[in-house]
């Protein structure tokens, strides 16, 4: 999540603007501290008999050290204004993705492709992405440092963020506005694919969920999913369809490599930890402890794993 390693034009623009600023600040830091240290050493009282000349001020110096910083700041201000203008202009031919913040996960909807997913934002490389964002509950903030600055998501309002990744790869992010008990576990993964891979991904996401083979453990798992109340909150296309998603869409859960607000991995061990006691992993979680036995959890996982 290193903002010093920009991986897209927006983050790069910020990096190109802030690096000279940090350098200037660094130089001023060195000069000022050197003056302090130098003065402290050179003018230390070494038992001199004489007191120093009582100088009250110097108007020329006052003018100089007012004007010079003002000019430096002016120099910084101009590219700053330009960068704000450029970075806040929505992309014209970008891929639009709607982001909705929830306590404590991010939901992603692709209106043009009619896809709803969560936790992992999949995007094609070298394409400007037009994030149109809001929140379903409290104020959150969407931040993927290597790709862009952060932008808050606010209930009842729409905010926008432009981001783009140069190359395929995976980039991490996190919610950056305190949003309650499990704020620390509200994380973001961005998976950047080549255009071809993205198109394939989108196609796969548009299909209804895979069905388990009759009689398999996965089929038993599906029964658990249906019988234990998961249907009340989670959508699986073709299995349970809920109008407004209070919980992540699981239709293609297995195509994602993270769960639980991207705070755990899609592995047997992490899935087991999560399903055993969600409120323990994420206090305040709206997903209750379902009281599943270890065996039941394994069965359920068998079903979840086929939801590619």
């Amino acid at each position: 999540m290193d903002s010093f390693k920009p991986a897209g034009p927006q983050a790069q623009r910020i990096y190109d603007l802030s690096t000279p600023v940090f350098i200037i600040a660094g130089i001023i830091f060195v000069l000022v501290e050197a003056a302090v240290v130098y003065a402290s050493l050179k003018f230390r009282d070494r038992g001199d008999a004489e007191d120093p000349k009582q100088i009250h001020g110097n108007n020329r110096l006052e003018v100089l050290w007012t004007i010079i910083p003002a000019l430096i700041l002016l120099g910084v201000a101009i590219p700053t204004v330009k960068a704000v203008a450029d970075l806040t202009t929505r992309p014209e031919n970008g891929l639009q993705v709607e982001v909705t913040g929830h306590q404590w996960w991010f939901e992603y909807t692709y209106p043009d492709q009619a896809i709803t997913t969560a936790n992992v934002l999949v995007i094609p490389a070298a394409t400007p992405i037009d994030l149109v964002m809001t929140s379903a509950d409290v104020v959150h903030s969407f931040w993927v440092p290597r790709l862009a600055g952060k932008r808050d998501v606010i209930p009842g309002q729409t905010t926008f963020l432009k981001l783009e990744a140069d190359e395929p790869g995976e980039y991490w992010g996190q919610c950056a506005e305190f949003c309650g008990l499990s704020h620390a576990k509200m994380r973001i993964r961005v998976q950047v694919l080549t255009q071809i891979d993205f198109d394939a991904w989108a196609l796969a996401q548009q299909q209804p969920a895979f069905e388990p083979t009759a009689g398999s453990t996965a089929a038993e798992g599906k029964d658990l999913f249906l019988g234990r109340g998961c249907v009340a909150c989670h959508t699986i296309q073709g299995v349970s369809d809920i109008a407004a998603t209070p919980a992540p869409d699981l239709t293609h859960l297995a195509s994602r490599n993270v769960i639980a607000g991207a705070s755990l991995d899609f592995t047997q061990a992490d899935l087991h930890e999560w399903l055993a006691d969600p409120p323990f992993v994420k206090p305040g979680s709206y997903m209750p402890n379902l009281g599943l036995t270890s065996e039941q959890i394994d069965t359920l996982i068998a079903y979840l794993e086929i939801l590619k």
């Binding site: 290193d2 010093f4 623009r13 910020i14 802030s18 600023v21 600040a25 001023i28 830091f29 003056a35 302090v36 402290s40 003018f43 230390r44 009282d45 007191d51 120093p52 000349k53 009582q54 100088i55 009250h56 001020g57 110096l61 006052e62 700041l73 201000a77 700053t80 704000v84 970075l87 509950d137 104020v139 931040w143 440092p145 862009a148 600055g149 952060k150 808050d152 606010i154 209930p155 009842g156 905010t159 991490w172 996190q174 919610c175 950056a176 506005e177 305190f178 309650g180 008990l181 499990s182 704020h183 620390a184 705070s263 409120p279 323990f280 206090p283 305040g284 979680s285 709206y286 402890n289």
Partner: protein
């Protein structure tokens, strides 16, 4: 010197001049200052312990030293405590103690109002901390907890900004947020009351001949601070009322679903919040401006520039608030406007730093503890100021905001700045306050340990933030490479703790056993050094007349042709005469009478505040009634109480 018994005006009973009751009913600015100081420092210990718990939790990734609920409470209470219950009251302590002394006055303009300010502050702190015992977080609506929330997690937990909707009724049921709102509201009224008093004092109680431009810089900075309080407290009060109403009475000011606007809260909060940070730093900038000249044996360089820069900062400070909201979707035009206004405020700030360095330049520097802390202030505040300027570069702030980079910034200005300035002042005025000297070597140990510990704690946070460590998170992912510097930071925090222990040991021991100090141990420049240590209750036996800035200095020194100071031959005799005059005045000065109404009003307000918190119960309504009536009765009686001491 004990003062004779006074009659307590309205009820016509005698109150002794010493003992517990004399302290409770005191209106002496010096005693009230001690109240503020000791109470504020106690909260500093508490806030520091909260910080140590936070750092222990963050020492390792995925740690479970405290629960998430406890962590969220700890960081909220740490910030709230340090800002409202430590720096503000300790600054009030300095202002209360010093302003009459520096101005050449016997007390403040409204001594009883002064006391009331303290009692309201204490009440606010009591309400806030009683939350740990009395309040509950409530069960998250629709959500589940792994276990019931412990007492350590049962105080305000929404961050010190307390943004809704998270702090609203739906997402923060229970009462912890209400305790915060009422506590801070009450403390805020105390600050407001105090600011009315101190402003009137500064404008109206100056010694004869002390024009505004002959006042010490500390007085000027206090003036600006009190204007800032006067204008910013009402705004946070409005925000607090609105959030209380949302939580308790069903209004939807900040509820989007009801037509409200969560961002409105942010605007109101930061309209207060930004002037607040100047309230926190300006008094200590004043302290540093007093200390540096004395230990450089040179006048303050650019007095007028420093004064006007301070005024400019106060003024501009009302025009930058939305730089705390660059990521809140406020629109590019607003972002540019506030980015530019924020850059502008860097100019007067820089002017002050350069003038301080110029004060040292060419001087004869004595590195006593106050001087070490004052120079440390300049060095550390510069770092915090520079990181602040980097925030004004709006797109850069989109990376920096809400990360540990911001945490680094504000600790450099508030700890490296305000706290260092406070320690400079505590050591500097220790001899005046107590008549004794502190232990110099222990104080130097305090400084160096604190300097190292402070930088080790907060320096790494700059890059931790830019590498992705988000604020207000009870843990962080082990794969982010943040562990090492978090551990270093934790170690640094314990070094700070050691240094604070050294300070406390020094203070306690020196008060009893420190070497006796003369009236003017530092050969200083301002009027408080021209009266005995500790000062008599009435401060000045005879009110002074001043003819210039640093009048006291010029009565001791004149200048030779080269502009170097030459001690006047009559200087020592003058000092002895001053000490005698002030210690044994010809006519006993009249002093304001002690009064029971400020503490009574304070107690009534406290009861009223608890009543509001429990307003949905019978007990609460009773408390509202009793507290309200008692408050009214106290104020009405107060209004009829004669003012001067009756002997």
């Amino acid at each position: 010197m004990t003062t004779p018994s006074t009659r307590q005006g309205f009820l016509r009973r005698r109150i002794p001049a010493t003992g517990f009751w004399s302290w409770i009913t005191t209106v002496d600015h010096k005693r009230i200052a001690k109240f503020y100081g000791y109470t504020g420092f106690t909260f500093f210990i508490v806030g520091g312990l909260e910080a140590l718990l936070l750092r222990l939790q963050l020492a390792r990734p995925e740690n479970a030293f405290v629960t998430p609920a406890e962590y969220n409470t700890l960081f909220t209470m740490h910030g709230t405590t340090m800002i409202f219950l430590v720096v503000m009251p300790i600054a009030a302590a300095f202002m209360n103690y010093l302003l009459p002394l520096m101005l050449g006055a016997r007390d403040v303009a409204f001594p009883r109002l002064n006391a009331l300010g303290y009692w309201f502050f204490l009440g606010g702190g009591v309400v806030l901390y009683s939350s740990f015992i009395l309040a509950s977080t409530g069960a998250p609506i629709g959500g589940f907890l792994p276990e019931s929330v412990s007492r350590l997690g049962s105080a305000a937990n929404g961050g010190w900004f307390m943004y809704p909707p998270n702090s609203g009724p739906q997402f923060s049921p229970g009462s912890v947020i209400d305790f915060w709102l009422v506590g801070i509201g009450l403390a805020g009224v105390g600050s407001l009351v105090s600011s009315v008093n101190l402003l009137t004092t500064i404008f109206n109680l100056r010694a004869k001949g002390m024009t505004l431009l002959r006042m010490p810089v500390f007085v000027w900075m206090s003036m600006v601070v009190n204007f800032l309080l006067l204008f910013s407290i009402p705004i946070i009060t409005v925000a607090i009322f609105m959030l209380i109403f949302d939580r308790q009475f069903g209004t939807q000011f900040f509820e989007a679903s009801g037509g409200g606007d969560p961002v409105l809260y942010q605007h109101l909060f930061w309209l207060f919040g930004h002037p607040e940070v100047y309230i926190l730093i300006l008094p200590t900038m004043g302290i540093v401006s007093e200390v540096l000249p004395v230990f450089s044996r040179k006048p303050l360089f650019g007095y007028a520039a420093i004064v006007f820069a301070g005024i400019a900062i106060g003024f501009l400070g009302f025009g930058v608030w939305a730089h705390h909201m660059f990521s809140s979707g406020i629109g590019p035009i607003a972002q540019v406007a506030f980015g530019l206004s924020t850059m502008t405020i860097a100019v007067p700030t820089g002017i002050k730093v350069f003038n301080w360095i110029a004060t040292m330049w060419g001087g004869k520097l004595r590195f006593t503890a106050p001087m070490l802390f004052a120079v440390g202030f300049v060095a550390m505040f510069t770092i915090g100021g520079l990181s602040g300027v980097t925030h004004s570069v709006v797109p850069a702030d989109w990376q920096q905001t809400d990360t540990y980079y911001i945490v680094a910034h504000f600790h450099y200005v508030l700890f490296g700045g305000s706290m260092f300035g406070i320690f400079a002042g505590l050591y500097y005025w220790f001899p005046k306050l107590t008549g004794r000297m502190y232990h110099e070597r222990l104080a130097k140990f305090h400084f160096w340990t604190m300097m190292i510990g402070f930088n080790l704690t907060f320096g790494p946070m700059h890059w931790l933030g830019l590498q992705g460590m988000v604020r207000r998170t009870y843990t962080y992912d082990a794969d982010l490479g943040l562990a090492f510097w978090n551990l270093m930071s934790t170690i640094g925090s314990f070094l700070i703790a050691v240094s604070v222990l050294a300070f406390m040991a020094n203070w306690i021991d020196s008060r009893r056993r420190g070497e006796l100090a003369p009236m003017d141990p530092w050969d200083a420049r301002t009027l408080e050094w021209s009266i005995p240590s500790p000062p008599p209750e009435y401060n000045f036996g005879e009110l002074p007349t001043v003819k210039s800035l640093d009048d006291f200095w010029y009565r001791k020194y004149t200048e030779d042709d080269e502009g170097r100071p030459v001690r006047r031959p009559e200087a020592d005799a003058l000092l002895a005469e001053l000490e005698a005059t002030h210690a044994h005045p010809k006519h006993r000065p009249h002093l304001p009478a002690a009064s029971v109404f400020p503490p009574l009003a304070g107690l009534s307000a406290l009861l009223f505040a608890f009543g509001i918190l429990y307003h949905s119960t019978g007990l609460g309504l009773a408390l509202i009634l009793v507290g309200g009536v008692a408050l009214l009765a106290s104020l009405v009686s107060w209004g009829q109480e004669p003012v001067e001491e009756e002997v």
